[in-house]
């Protein structure tokens, strides 16, 4: 098995009195598109900045390509491209100058890249000055600079913020092409549909801690299904079973939430009661994420 491109174990970062990262774990395998989800202020950007060697961490380890970002930042940076969440441009530099400069700073000659094609696909005018771009266009400048050349790793911090749906689609296409070519992607976002569409695996982070990690299918599996059954006889009292909640009975119809491990018991009880119809729906992703995002105190397990 090859070493993961990004490996983070027990990462801790304090800013003054507040703990931004609280023993965070994260692992991104080669060629993977890893969704990094969390509400605002969860620590996504802090993690990314630690991975880029911009922050010194207080405890734990983080490696990128097996190297320490703090000590070997430049060696790592040669192999990655980064799009910050809030792109600030140099007010006097044109978009084209900025793109070429960022590429050259990574050691890439712009003429040898897909820069021109990308400018066209993103419908971006490279002659405008930095201060004249709208938020979406600033984002495009950073995206073109990041996606133009082949890299081993793309670090994208909320890359589509400010883009219209059409441009989001262009971004998705471009990203897919990069992934095809073997690029690993860390995609931070709080937009669920984006991650659902693009990512293979997901880590959900809350208050500086990874609360869930796995493929979307796995995450779904961890969650309760909504069961609606109509029985011929008396509805059984399912509330006594472990892993079953929210039981409601209306006449012959019974609805409840069932944890995966309680499903067979529920089915047995329903069968015994003479089940006539049965639907079991997995949680929607919306529910999944809302539960993960909910602050600690209100989470019911």
């Amino acid at each position: 098995m090859t070493e993961p491109v990004i490996a983070v174990h027990g990462l801790v970062k304090d800013f003054g009195g507040t703990r931004a990262l609280d023993s965070l774990d994260l692992s991104v395998a080669r060629g993977q598109v890893h969704g990094f989800l969390g509400p605002n202020g969860a620590g996504k950007s802090t993690t990314i900045r630690a991975l880029l060697g911009l922050l010194r961490v207080d405890a734990g380890t983080a490696t990128v390509f097996g190297l320490d970002p703090w000590a070997d930042g430049v060696a790592i940076h040669r192999r990655l491209a980064y799009v910050p969440g809030d792109v600030a441009l140099w007010p006097n530099l044109s978009g084209g100058e900025t793109i070429d400069m960022l590429l050259r700073m990574r050691g890439v000659e712009p003429a040898s890249t897909a820069r021109g094609a990308l400018l066209e696909r993103f419908d971006l005018d490279p002659t405008k000055r930095g201060r004249a771009y709208s938020k979406g266009n600033r984002q495009k400048v950073a995206l073109v600079a990041a996606l133009a050349a082949e890299v081993d790793l793309l670090v994208l911090d909320e890359p589509t913020s400010g883009l219209d749906p059409l441009m989001e689609q262009v971004f998705a296409d471009c990203l897919a092409e990069r992934v095809e070519a073997g690029t690993t992607v860390l995609l931070s976002s709080h937009i669920l549909s984006e991650v659902e569409r693009l990512a293979d695996r997901v880590t959900i982070i809350r208050s500086g801690r990874a609360v869930e990690s796995g493929t979307l299918a796995e995450l779904r599996h961890l969650r309760r299904s909504r069961v609606v059954a109509e029985v011929a006889g008396t509805p059984p009292d399912l509330s006594l079973l472990a892993g079953v909640t929210d039981v409601r009975v209306e006449g012959q119809t019974l609805t409840c939430s069932v944890a995966p491990e309680a499903m067979s018991d529920v089915l047995a009880a329903l069968t015994a009661a003479g089940v006539r119809s049965l639907t079991s729906a997995p949680p929607t992703l919306e529910e999944l994420f809302l539960e993960a995002y909910r602050p600690e105190a209100t989470v019911t397990r």
Partner: protein, 528 residues
């Protein structure tokens, strides 16, 4: 909705935002006023002393060029406030340039103006609030300056007249900056335009005060002397400031109505679609960001040097009074007097050029806060290189500007008096010799930045303190331990005095130590 809706809360917010900065600047000015007033009263107790001193000043075009003439040689107040009436009025103008720009164009460039504009704030409110806020600051400064004069022992009516001239200059500076801030979408360009405007007005006065007097009537700085605050004040001169200031503010409002929020009257030209192959590392980027500032500063200090150099040869012809001859003898002849002028200009240039050095560091700090540095550091560029690029442009640029000032003075002198290459080498060397003091303050700015990008602004307070120490230290007879805190006080006044290796080496060593510490710290800290 009323176009001025929200003006009052915005004004209060602006006053609150500026409370530290304005207090420091105003207090510094007022302390210098008090120190000058009280020192003059005690240094020149009799009318004869004052006449002698005033005639000496009037007979030196160099001093007249910098500080303006003394119209009534018997007046105690005019002698005491000569420097403050003209040269310090320029620092007063600078304060209002900073204030007005900060609440107009800078707000627009950052997008905050748009945020506010979408609330229940009228479209004229932000400009009105900026004018109102700075207008109140000007009034407060005027009152405090008048009080400081009176407490320092000067006559009441004259004190009020002098303070009114400061308020008048403030008004013009407010209007001028308000107009400049309509012209370009870039806050930096607007500051350059307003600064150039103030420099031109000051230059007109220099020309008028040393040549045809009517030219001085074209400049508010010239009005300040011709108000004759200290003897038979011409109060109607105050109307000139008021009319010009109001006219400029009204023009600014009209210009603002003719443009969109966030844009300038002068349309931004499109940039190149491709980057230059040289724009590929931190040095090239820092240079690219600052090259316009370096060029405009170069033009500015070259002009300063040229004008001062060109004035210098007139010194001998005009000295036909006893007092003048005495001054010459005590300084060692006409040639020495020319040198004294150059030395005086260079000591001011050293402080002015430090502003450039601090601005470069402040820009680096701003790049970090806004997230631009982060993008550069996520490429193959090292932190060391980013830091060194800023340090080199800041410290090296400052020395370059000093060199240009010195060379400009030599050229100006050469054009008038036909001096040779000897002056060029001498003046350029004298100018460069000021570098170590500039480096110490610039290196302190780097160190502050290295401890946190938000600390970099403290360097301005540091420079202001050093400058204040240099200005009031002698007047208030402060102990050496205090005046010695300013690096500028340690260097000899070349070319009058000869080069001194000891302070040069010490200051250079201190600057180097500060820079290296800053470099080390910058590599160790969190970015952003």
């Amino acid at each position: 909705m009323n176009a001025y809706a929200g003006t009052w809360p915005l004004t209060r917010a602006a006053l609150r935002r500026d409370r530290v900065f304005v207090t420091v600047w105003v207090l510094l000015l007022v302390v210098v006023v008090y120190a000058s007033a009280s020192a003059t009263v005690s240094i020149y107790p009799t009318a004869a002393d004052r006449v002698q001193a005033a005639e000496a000043i009037n007979s030196s075009p160099a001093i007249v060029a910098l500080y303006g003439p003394i119209l009534d040689v018997r007046s105690e107040g005019e002698l005491a406030m000569t420097k403050l009436t003209v040269l310090y009025a320029a620092f007063v103008a600078l304060l209002f340039l900073v204030l007005v720009r900060r609440h107009t164009r800078t707000e627009e460039e950052s997008g905050r103006a748009e945020l506010l504009g979408a609330t229940a704030v009228g479209r004229d409110a932000q400009l009105a609030a900026a004018v109102l806020e700075s207008g109140s600051v000007a009034a407060a400064l005027g009152i405090l300056a008048a009080v400081a004069c009176v407490v320092g022992g000067l006559p009441v009516v004259g004190s009020i007249g002098f303070a009114a001239s400061w308020v008048g200059v403030s008004w013009v500076a407010i209007g001028l900056t308000a107009v400049a801030c309509q012209l370009s979408a870039s806050a930096r360009t607007c500051a350059a335009l307003a600064g150039a405007g103030i420099a031109v007005l000051f230059g007109l006065r220099v020309v008028g005060d040393t040549g045809p007097e009517w030219v001085s009537w074209l400049s508010p700085f010239g009005w300040s002397t011709r108000l004759r605050a200290w003897s038979e004040p011409r109060w109607w001169v105050l109307l000139l400031y008021a009319v010009l200031g109001a006219g400029l503010v009204v023009s600014a409002r009209m210009l603002q109505h003719g443009r969109d929020l966030g844009s300038g009257v002068l349309a931004a030209r499109p940039g190149p679609a491709h980057g230059s192959p040289r724009l590929a590392d931190a040095f090239a980027l820092t240079w690219r960001v600052h090259r316009t500032m370096v060029s405009s500063w170069t033009v500015g200090v070259a002009a300063l040097g040229l004008v001062m150099g060109a004035i210098a040869p007139g010194v001998g012809d005009l000295l036909d009074t006893d007092a003048g001859r005495q001054v010459i003898e005590s300084l060692g002849g006409v040639g020495a007097l020319q040198d004294a002028l150059v030395a005086a200009v260079l000591s001011i240039a050293a402080v002015v050029v430090t502003c450039f050095a601090i601005a470069v560091v402040g820009h680096g700090a701003g790049d970090e806060r806004d997230g631009r540095t982060e993008q550069v550091l996520a490429t193959a560029v090292t932190r060391s290189r980013t830091f060194v690029a800023t340090a080199v442009i800041s410290l090296g640029g400052a020395s370059w500007l000093l060199l240009v000032t010195g060379a400009g003075a030599a050229l100006g002198l050469g054009m008038q008096a036909g001096g040779g290459a000897g002056d060029l080498g001498r003046f350029a060397g004298a100018a460069l010799a000021q570098s170590p003091a500039v480096w110490v303050v610039a290196a302190a700015a780097l160190l502050l930045h290295a401890f946190g990008s938000r600390l970099a602004v403290v360097a301005w307070a540091l420079l202001a303190s050093c400058f204040a120490i240099g200005q009031v230290g002698e007047l208030l007879k402060l102990p050496d331990a205090v005046t010695g805190l300013s690096p500028y006080t340690h260097l000899p006044a070349m070319p009058v005095e000869s080069f001194a290796a000891t302070p040069t080496i010490w200051l250079t060593a201190i600057a180097a130590a500060l820079t290296v510490t800053a470099w080390w710290r910058y590599r160790e800290r969190d970015i952003g």
